[in-house]
């Protein structure tokens, strides 16, 4: 017990000093002292959760049905393009019924060739041995292309990865904000944006798929048929974005949003908001060719399967620039420009959970939480002092050191402090002294049994440690389960508890033992007042 070698004393002192040192950046954050903190010193500090810092938390879920539909559509386009390639294979209408593509091959001798070509469009799915689409022939002339389960799963996974990046670019085009965008559980994206108190703007940006397509208007379609939703082969009927009504356009996509170099909000000659587009080199070339070949014909601008407008091509547009006008406000034009520039979302996302806290409320919570922490700690300290005297002082020093260590560990791991985390902090302060209570009560007991002072202290620490260890394991079990199952704030609470349990064993057992040992060695007391 009294054998506390010098190097151990130095080691413990070093840990404590480091704890204080690493907790300083978190303590002075936001005050004027922060600027005086030397630049060579550590700057890692505790992140504040959205409930303390203010901000928006959104949980987005991919619309799986929409994802399948989009995948089917894009496959349909690829199939149509592939079969048109020379030597052309003539087929009937491509049906998308039942989530599968199927079509008749007009010339029965070409069935095998058609299957062969479609096979080239399918890809193996990693680790499964399956391909992403099954190509089969039914009734000797009908080719059926069905998505496989593993293919659909892989497609959704890929889509979520792209969607995550698109969401990030839309919310933070400059890439400078401290936002969190992560995929969760296969088909969800968690978005956390500190400082944003109006999540409506975020939702507007994320809510748009922003699939931009330019298609030629089908002038041969019978207007009466179009209003009933029927279009000639190779064309489709789409609704107008404004004012209702429908229009038939050719299925073939002439130019799409993927060939954009940039998009920004602008104004037309009359001062109305527009979205100004600049195509990349392929896009510009194709745009130039299509407009050259179709002068004086209407060109439909389609956003998310709605026709924004169908202006007439007055002259070939060769510069690779275009302007979309519609019924825009500056805000909606700007949102669309940001959405287009960040690329289309591969899958539609729905908001299934939203939590927003204003910065004022967050500040208020921090203020009240800090005051409650200080008062609570003082209460516990006072109680320990009147109960255990000198040993209460040691417990108090351990408590304060523990508070620094918790902050330091949280800062080093980049942990997030939430409002329930503050409660966890206060609770840890209350529970951490339990170890000292156990030790001190045991020492009292051993003294009552007539043990000599040093012997009593030694036995007290040794015998109490077993119970302290087992009791702390129960805390670790329940806190770990909270970390695993809990979401956001609850996890923040559990993280503080977990860190607090570990650091409190160090401070309450090891650190106080050192203090007691040093005191006994120096003062050589004859009796213990405990």
């Amino acid at each position: 017990m009294l054998e506390f070698p010098r190097w151990k004393v130095w080691l413990v002192t070093l840990v404590v000093a480091l704890g204080v040192f690493f907790s300083i950046p978190s303590l002075i954050a936001g005050t004027t002292l922060a600027s005086k903190w030397p630049s060579w010193a550590p700057h890692a500090k505790i992140n504040l959760g959205l409930d303390l810092a203010g901000g928006s938390h959104l949980l987005l879920e991919a619309d799986a049905r929409d994802a399948l539909k989009t995948r089917l559509q894009s496959m349909e386009d690829s199939v149509a393009t592939e079969l048109r390639r020379s030597p052309r294979i003539e087929v009937g209408d491509i049906s998308t019924a039942g989530g599968r593509l199927s079509f008749m091959v007009r010339n029965p001798t070409q069935v095998d060739a058609a299957v062969e070509r479609l096979r080239t469009l399918t890809r193996p799915v990693a680790y499964t041995g399956n391909r992403d689409w099954d190509v089969t022939v039914v009734d000797s002339t009908r080719v059926v292309l069905a998505p496989t389960a593993s293919g659909s799963a892989q497609a959704l996974k890929d889509a979520m990865g792209v969607a995550r990046d698109v969401v990030r670019r839309r919310i933070d085009p400059s890439g400078t904000k401290e936002i969190t965008v992560i995929t969760e559980g296969g088909n969800r994206i968690l978005v956390e944006v500190p400082g944003v108190e109006d999540p409506e703007a975020l939702k507007r940006l994320i809510g748009q798929t922003a699939r931009l397509e330019f298609k030629l208007v089908d002038l041969n379609a019978n207007p009466a048929d179009v209003q009933q939703g029927r279009a000639p082969p190779g064309s489709q009927v789409l609704p107008m974005a404004e004012g209702g009504g429908f229009m038939a356009v050719q299925r073939r996509v002439m130019v799409s949003g993927e060939q954009l170099a940039s998009a920004r909000q602008g104004f037309d000659q009359d001062g109305r908001p527009t979205v100004d587009l600049v195509f990349n080199s392929t896009g510009a070339r194709r745009f130039g060719r299509v407009t050259q070949e179709n002068v004086n014909k209407p060109f439909a601008i389609i956003l998310d399967d709605k026709i924004l407008s169908a202006p007439n091509i007055n002259e070939p547009i060769l510069g690779g620039r275009a302007q979309i006008s519609g019924n825009f406000t500056v805000q909606s034009a700007n949102d669309l420009a940001v959405s287009l520039a960040s690329g289309k979302l591969p899958v539609k996302l729905n908001v299934i959970e939203e939590r927003t806290v204003s910065a004022e409320l967050g500040r208020d919570s921090i203020h009240k939480g800090v005051i409650a922490s200080i008062v609570g700690t003082l209460g516990v300290i006072l109680f320990m002092l009147v109960t255990y005297g000198r040993f209460g002082v040691y417990a108090t020093i351990a408590l304060v050191v523990n508070a620094f260590l918790i902050l330091a560990v949280m800062a080093l791991f980049g942990a997030t402090l939430t409002l329930p985390g503050i409660a966890g902090f206060i609770l840890t302060i209350g529970a951490a002294v339990d170890a000292n209570v156990l030790i001190n009560e045991r020492i009292r007991e051993e003294i009552r049994r007539g043990r000599r002072l040093i012997d009593a202290v030694e036995t007290g620490y040794r015998e109490a440690f077993r119970a302290i260890f087992d009791a702390n394991v129960t805390h670790v079990i329940s806190a770990s389960i909270m970390v695993y199952f809990g979401s956001g704030p609850v996890r923040g609470f559990a993280v503080v508890l977990l860190i607090g349990v570990v650091t409190s064993v160090f401070t309450a057992v090891y650190f106080t033992r050192m203090l007691v040992a040093l005191w006994i060695r120096r003062a050589r007391p004859r009796e213990l007042h405990i």
């Binding site: 409506e200 299934i352 005051i371 609570g376 329930p420 087992d470 129960t474």
Partner: protein, 316 residues
């Protein structure tokens, strides 16, 4: 300086004398709590049933009926409005609208836009919307977490002590959790995610107390081989009584401060843990210990595995 001693040096309280009465009472209360919780139901927050909550701060006092009337005009369902401490801060809760998952979220958008229009100078301080799907997951995750924590801790106790102690721990935990639920059913305090965190903390804390007592029982079982089980339990409880009282008090002091002056958002969490500490202190004495009597714990329970060097173990 005279030090404070809440528990005198040599207590000799016959705790086990009332063990049958205490266990019958606890069983009745546990069953009553569960039955009442099932009958009355918990006041589940939007975390667990879905819906939306908006917290509004007005720059002047607003009458609750006035606010209720204006919210009703929006046609977003039956709002439940609650004042938060004063007549300028209110919480408006709306039920989950029927229809698609996305509908719920649009209601919050509507409310967020409408309130500042109706009451100039009002500020929406916080808004939450949870869809049915997410709330179902949160509820099932919360339930799973509590059950897994109870089983995990009981298994650990079994591993560290003996199976009788594991059973005792599990029963103690079931008692504490049921009683806390009964309290929430009785007071109809809202149950949100924080309360689940509180229940898990109670699970950890209550066992903390039980473990300390079990540790002492184990020690005494080895020390006094010939002592009958009841006096031995009483001795162990008396020996640890001072620690039980002091630790419970420190935790209660910290929590009382949190309840009194802490942020009101975590009031539910604080009061649940406060109550759980009281219940846990009681149950570690009157549930954990008596269970050992019925399950037939004797000094021999520890001989085979742990005291290999002792003569008794070699002959056994």
């Amino acid at each position: 300086m005279k030090l404070l001693k809440l528990v005198p040096d040599h207590t000799n309280i016959d705790f086990m004398r009332w063990r049958n009465l205490a266990v019958i009472l606890s069983t009745l209360l546990t069953v009553a709590s569960l039955a009442y919780t099932a009958y009355r139901g918990l006041n589940l927050g939007i975390d667990f049933v879905g819906g939306q909550v908006v917290r509004v701060e007005f720059n002047q006092p607003v009458h609750i009926e006035d606010l209720r009337a204006r919210v009703a005009q929006l046609g977003v369902g039956e709002a439940s409005i609650q004042a938060l401490g004063n007549d300028r801060t209110y919480q408006v809760r709306l039920p989950r609208p029927p229809g698609a998952e996305t509908a719920a979220n649009q209601v919050v958008s509507k409310l967020r836009a409408a309130i500042p229009q109706q009451f100039p100078g009002a500020r929406v301080d916080a808004g939450e919307s949870v869809s049915g799907k997410v709330s179902e997951e949160l509820a099932s995750d919360g339930l799973k977490a509590i059950i897994f924590a109870m089983i995990g801790i009981a298994l650990y106790i079994w591993f560290r002590f003996e199976w009788q102690f594991g059973v005792g721990a599990l029963l103690t935990l079931a008692h504490d959790v049921s009683m806390t639920l009964g309290f929430f059913a009785f007071t109809q305090l809202p149950v949100d995610l924080n309360v689940v965190a509180a229940l898990l903390t109670i699970v950890g804390y209550s066992l903390n107390d039980t473990v300390v007592i079990y540790d002492r029982i184990r020690e005494n079982l080895r020390k006094y081989r010939k002592m009958a089980i009841l006096p031995l339990l009483n001795l162990s409880l008396n020996e640890t009584l001072a620690r039980t009282v002091v630790t419970s008090l420190t935790v209660l002091i910290a929590l009382a401060v949190l309840m009194a002056i802490g942020p009101e958002v975590i009031f539910g969490l604080a009061i649940a843990i406060f109550l759980g500490v009281l219940i846990g202190t009681y149950s570690s004495i009157y549930i954990s210990a008596p269970v050992l009597v019925w399950l037939g714990v004797t000094p021999h329970s520890f001989l085979k595995t742990e005291d290999k060097d002792s003569p008794e173990a070699q002959t056994a």
